[in-house]
């Protein structure tokens, strides 16, 4: 596995990503696969924006009463025969999972898709302890074979082309005939289905994440399209749910409000194929289902976000819409972000969980175009929070000297309006003059970070402020 954290190298990661042709080809599927579908789903539901407000309010209410909700939830899990384990960090969670597995002598563990499992690195940990973890979500399975981490929170293998999947399947499924045809995506899916079916039926423990934990009933909820999460939790003797503290949600009705915006924002479906509500172990008289039901509630830095300027981030339902609409993500993909959470949500969450020293590069990966906030179903002010992180990074002197020098240089002028006007009114016409013929620059000294990957449009002959002044003057004139 390559669980090496490279959040500090965002810049060089991004550079490599931009030069990687295969990745660039794969990334075109993000825009094509998500944006239009989300818009159609949203337009088909006139109440969509009202539901977004409700979803935001439900989560705000929950976070404002989080201790009481967690206690209620725990009580209900215990009452239905389940067990709750509290984990302060990833290491504690890994050990709790290992203990449960060892208790039943587990050799193989099937896994439904869980970002928290990625966060705590459970696969590596289980392997080191001689337990085989098997990812069962098709995307997760593909990247597990490739020894990679997910590059998208709902489409983990979005960076992989089908030819690459074929290569990986041929390499790993070496018990199957070499002559088989794997050209079509259908044949790849079929093969994965057959190989994984055997794993489902032989697993001792199943680990799933949770989209929600419901305080009213002590229930965990998973949302999937493949059905892998269900086979993971219904076939083995033991079901372990891995969830973080902010997943708790008050009632079945509240969850239904949020579910109405989740799939629409994520994949553009009105609802995912499978939404599954699991409460405790199997009941007396049940003929299938797990004998043991464990919930690991992970903190890993989140309780410190309560009451901070980053609390709103805890409303996130991991729909992926912010990255689907992010121009930076479209350009560099998810791996450049260096850890498990990419895109705008990752740029805010990663420094919150890892600290600004390791994650502080990420909030800079933004053009502040505001699309992420515009599409976030939970109305999380992502750009504002990225700005908070930038400020903190600056305060702590963590950004590179050239950037600090540049900002100070700019600040010197910005604080002296007359000088600023003078400098820009001299500089802009010059740029305009040189760029006039083609309308853009292919190269500009001191700006190669920009011009290497895209052309810089040549400016208008006048500065923005000059144009604005003229516009206002015209308006005034017109109003008279």
């Amino acid at each position: 596995m390559t669980n090496i954290i490279t959040t500090r190298d965002f810049k060089s990661n991004a550079k490599e990503a931009l030069a990687n042709k295969t990745l660039q080809k794969a990334l075109t599927h993000v825009e094509a696969g998500f944006i239009g579908k989300r818009r159609l789903a949203m337009e088909a539901l006139p109440e969509f924006d009202q539901l977004r407000d409700n979803a935001r309010d439900i989560k705000n209410h929950t976070l404002a009463n989080l201790d009481a909700y967690l206690e209620e939830y725990e009580e209900k899990v215990v009452a239905s025969g389940g067990k709750v384990h509290w984990a302060a960090d990833g290491e504690e969670a890994c050990n709790q999972i290992l203990d449960i597995c060892r208790n039943v002598g587990a050799r193989t563990v099937t896994k439904g898709k869980s970002m928290i499992a990625e966060e705590i690195g459970i696969n590596d940990f289980l392997e080191k302890n001689d337990i085989e973890p098997v990812e069962t979500d098709l995307g997760e399975y593909i990247i597990q074979l490739r020894g990679e981490t997910p590059s998208h929170i709902i489409a983990p293998a979005v960076h992989v082309l089908k030819e690459q999947v074929e290569e990986d399947f041929r390499r790993v499924h070496d018990h199957l005939p070499v002559s088989r045809n794997l050209e079509e995506p259908e044949s790849l899916l079929d093969e994965a289905r057959k190989v994984l079916r055997a794993k489902f039926l032989n697993a001792d423990v199943g680990i799933t994440g949770a989209n929600f934990l419901i305080a009213e009933t002590g229930t965990s909820v998973i949302v999937t399209n493949e059905g892998n999460g269900d086979l993971t939790q219904i076939v083995p003797k033991v079901h372990i749910v891995l969830a973080s503290i902010e997943k708790v949600t008050p009632t079945l009705d509240d969850v239904s409000q949020i579910l109405r915006v989740l799939a629409r924002s994520a994949t553009g479906q009105e609802i995912s194929v499978y939404t599954t509500f699991s409460t405790g172990p199997k009941r007396q008289g049940d003929v299938d289902g797990p004998e043991e039901y464990h919930v690991i509630i992970l903190d890993n830095g989140r309780s410190n976000m309560i009451g901070s300027e980053f609390q709103d981030m805890l409303r996130c339902i991991r729909c992926g819409s912010c990255m689907n609409h992010c121009p930076v993500y479209h350009a560099v993909g998810g791996h450049a972000y260096g850890w498990v959470y990419p895109g705008p949500m990752g740029a805010v969450l990663t420094p919150s969980l890892m600290g600004v020293k390791d994650g502080g590069q990420l909030p800079n990966a933004s053009t502040f175009c505001g699309r992420c906030e515009a599409v976030c179903p939970m109305r999380i002010p992502l750009p504002k929070m990225m700005r908070h992180w930038r400020e903190r990074e600056f305060e702590k002197h963590l950004n590179p000297a050239s950037q600090r020098w540049g900002l100070n240089f700019w600040a010197f002028f910005a604080k002296r309006p007359r000088l600023y006007h003078l400098a820009t009114s001299l500089g802009i016409p010059l740029l305009s003059l040189f760029g006039r013929r083609k309308g853009y620059f292919k190269y500009l000294p001191l700006a190669s970070g920009w011009t290497k990957y895209r052309d810089l449009p040549a400016p208008e002959t006048r500065t923005f402020q000059q144009q604005w002044a003229q516009r206002e003057a015209l308006k005034q004139g017109g109003a008279k």
Binding site: H29, F34, E47, L51, N54, A64, N65, L66, D67, A68, E72, W86, A87, A88, E92, D137, L138, G139, I142, A155, P156, A157, L161, P185, L189, R193, F200, A215, T217, N225, E226, G227, D230, I234, V235, P250, T251, L252, D253, S256, Q257, L259, E270, V273, Y274, T275, T276, F277, T279, G280, K282, R283, G285, D286, V287, D288, G289, S303, I306, G307
Partner: protein
Amino acid sequence: MTSRDAILGRINTTLNRASEKSARQQAVKARLSKHPKGTIPARARLDKKAQLKLFCDQAEKVQTSIRRVKSYNGVPKAIADYLRDHNLPAGFCMGEDERLQNLPWEKARALEIKTGPSDGEDAVGVSHAFGGIAETGTLLLVSGKDNPTTINFLPETHVVVVRSRDIDGDYESLWSRLRKEYGTGKLPRTVNWITGPSRSGDIQQTILLGAHGPRSLHVIVVDA
């Protein structure tokens, strides 16, 4: 100090700056017992007949196939027809649900019926749904020996019988019914919302049916 106490303690200390713990507990109890509904989309607030039509339309949009029959007595033939038309073996597994067990199976052509959960060897599974949700063409199934959950996921073909009167407009109506049936604050081990056959878009974002769960989902709506 245990991690539980540390985590809850940290949250508690921060939240105490804004409110008292007892006030929070009261707010929580109130919401849990009142479980306010929120916004129900207009499309889900219809009369029974329109709901049924919407359910069928929405389900078909996500590749569920639908057959309507006048009474339970028509179910065996409807299932036999479906299996024959799709070149499927004349047999299936199902649970102990009496509404299914007591049907006049002998009237249809010879069907081999296995009672109990699925072990992964069954090509076809038959279940009875607790209800349906018109808003999105969703089925709601509950676990138990009557309708074991493995039947919903292991067979390649899943046939689900649902009564027309159990089809409601929205998810919330079914939660109310479940609260009545199982008691407040309680649920059966597994509640499945199922909306169409299994699918995946994980290879180049192209949607393909039949990832790990059933490739086909066939619903028989009984006018009862």
